[in-house]
């Protein structure tokens, strides 16, 4: 056991603990934070394995953007403020799916890389990675970027509300310069024509303009 092995095990344990907390926590925001810890832990694993570029990508994409977007979306929509608890009813299904995935992935990884021994580990330099992506694998890279672009446009189309699709326009009371203060307790709204408010008798209030 070298020092790196110890660090590797510790980071791995932290990542696993974060993952367990993500699914067991009853508070959505706590779960999202535990997810952030898990993702940061994976970055730590990459770092221990000398994949420093990958570790930083993991940090900036998953912790800095994905986890933040999760938290942001939760807070905008359904995060209970303070200490409240929610519970999902899909435990059995989730357990089956994640257990199946775990078995398949670990079998595949052991089969593929089980007998590979790497002794002197140095990650490739950023120049090597850059040439690999933009020279050797440029076509798959461009395909992936097209896919992402399509997903982006799709998200925008889904998020944009077409006319008449989602409910009615809320009635808006527009306040314009020169309107008298609206007093709801007074009788029926008086007709307001142009700038004629000054001629209204005192006390009759003004018009509620829809």
């Amino acid at each position: 056991m070298t020092g790196l092995d110890v660090v590797f095990v510790l980071v791995g344990l932290l990542t696993a603990a974060g993952a367990v907390l993500t699914v067991t926590s009853k508070n959505l925001v706590h779960a999202a934070l535990a997810l952030a810890v898990t993702l940061a832990g994976i970055a730590g694993v990459f770092l221990v394995l000398h994949a420093d570029f990958l570790a930083l990508v993991q940090l900036v994409v998953y912790v800095g953007a994905v986890a933040v977007l999760f938290l942001f979306g939760l807070m905008l929509t359904r995060a209970p403020i303070g200490r409240e608890a929610l519970d999902s009813q899909n435990r059995g299904l989730a357990l089956a799916v994640s257990g199946g995935l775990f078995v398949v992935l670990s079998t595949l990884i052991v089969l593929a890389f089980g007998d590979v021994r790497v002794d002197a580990m140095t990650g490739p330099g950023i120049d090597v990675i850059g040439i690999a992506i933009f020279a050797v694998w440029v076509l798959p890279f461009e395909l992936l970027s097209m896919l992402l672009l399509a997903a982006l446009i799709g998200a925008i189309v889904l998020a944009r509300r077409e006319d008449g699709e989602s409910g009615e326009e809320a009635e808006v009371t527009r306040i314009e310069v020169g309107d008298p203060p609206i007093n709801e307790s007074d009788g029926p709204p008086a007709e307001v024509a142009g700038d004629g408010q000054a001629e209204l008798p005192a006390g009759s209030g003004g018009g509620g303009q829809a």
């Binding site: 070298t2 934070l33 900036v60 938290l71 303070g82 002794d119 950023i126």
Partner: protein
Amino acid sequence: MTVLTSTTALAQAPSILDVGDGVVLPILLKVALVLGLFFVVPLVGGYLEHKVMGRMQNRRGPVEAGPFGSLQLVADGIKFIQKEDIIPRAADKPMFALAPGLALVPALLVFLVIPLGPGVFAVDLELGLFYALAITSISVLGILLGGWASANKFSLIGGLRAGAQLIAYELPLIITAITVAVMAGTLSLVGIVEAQANFTLPGLEGFNLWFVFPQIVGFAIFFVAAMAELSRPPFDMPIGDSELVFGYMTEYTGIKFAMFLLTEYAGMITMSALMVVLFLGGWQILPGVATPGCEGAAGIMSCDPIGIAISVLVTLAKIMGLVFLMVWARVAYPRLREDQLQRISWLVLVPLSLANLAFVTILTVVL
């Protein structure tokens, strides 16, 4: 299990703190350097802000604590420590306590790669620029969390605004940084400083330029985006006091509030330091001027102690100059509205920085 033998390829140029053969002493010295930078330079920046803002508003700024009021922020720190630590009853206590730390630690970690002079840095990472940007992107977690855990609607709205703002302005910031990296041909911060010392425009050989001159657009984008990233006025909608009391910091008191404040000032220093490195030639005195006492690489590397001292002072002076500009902008401009803020980022800065990147990349390949 695979044996991981460590032959790290992370560090590039040696730091002057790599003294002796041991492992422990250099690490201790580097930790001392980073902590010293983190706790002292932001205080100097804060003092500068107090004084400059005061003068610009026809006041004198702090005068009582220490000579010319220079110890005002130290006194403030002592006051913050003594204050009662109030946690709202409805708050999520662990998260509420965790949030300021989560915002503070990334601000501290960025100082790891900031080069102040030839060899005066903790570590020169091959990916230094990317590291700095990646680490700063984590701070927003702490701010979002603080806003939510306070169980206060003003805090929540402030946290949300901060989240939206930081996401929006991260893009132009990173794209502009990429542009500079393309010009320099490296992501190492020390490497970028060296590249600027050797940079000339085609047709003007022998006439050294910093990146700020061909990249004045990039510098402007980076400066605006950096101010927005730090939520500094005029981009301080997340803590807009006329609408949101104090945004995500509303419920924070005492030392936790001080931690948020220190995060802001430290961010101001690190962003200024990044701008100095990316655009203003790092520790070079003037374009094309060799630092006295230095020999290697256009007269900015391999320095004797005097040269190193001059270099560090030059860097710090440039950083403080940028802090002055930020304070000036704060005093001169009113706060933007939330929609104006998002509009500036998505409709102006992002397209502009993308066009800038494409322009520079094509020119770099063609020339």
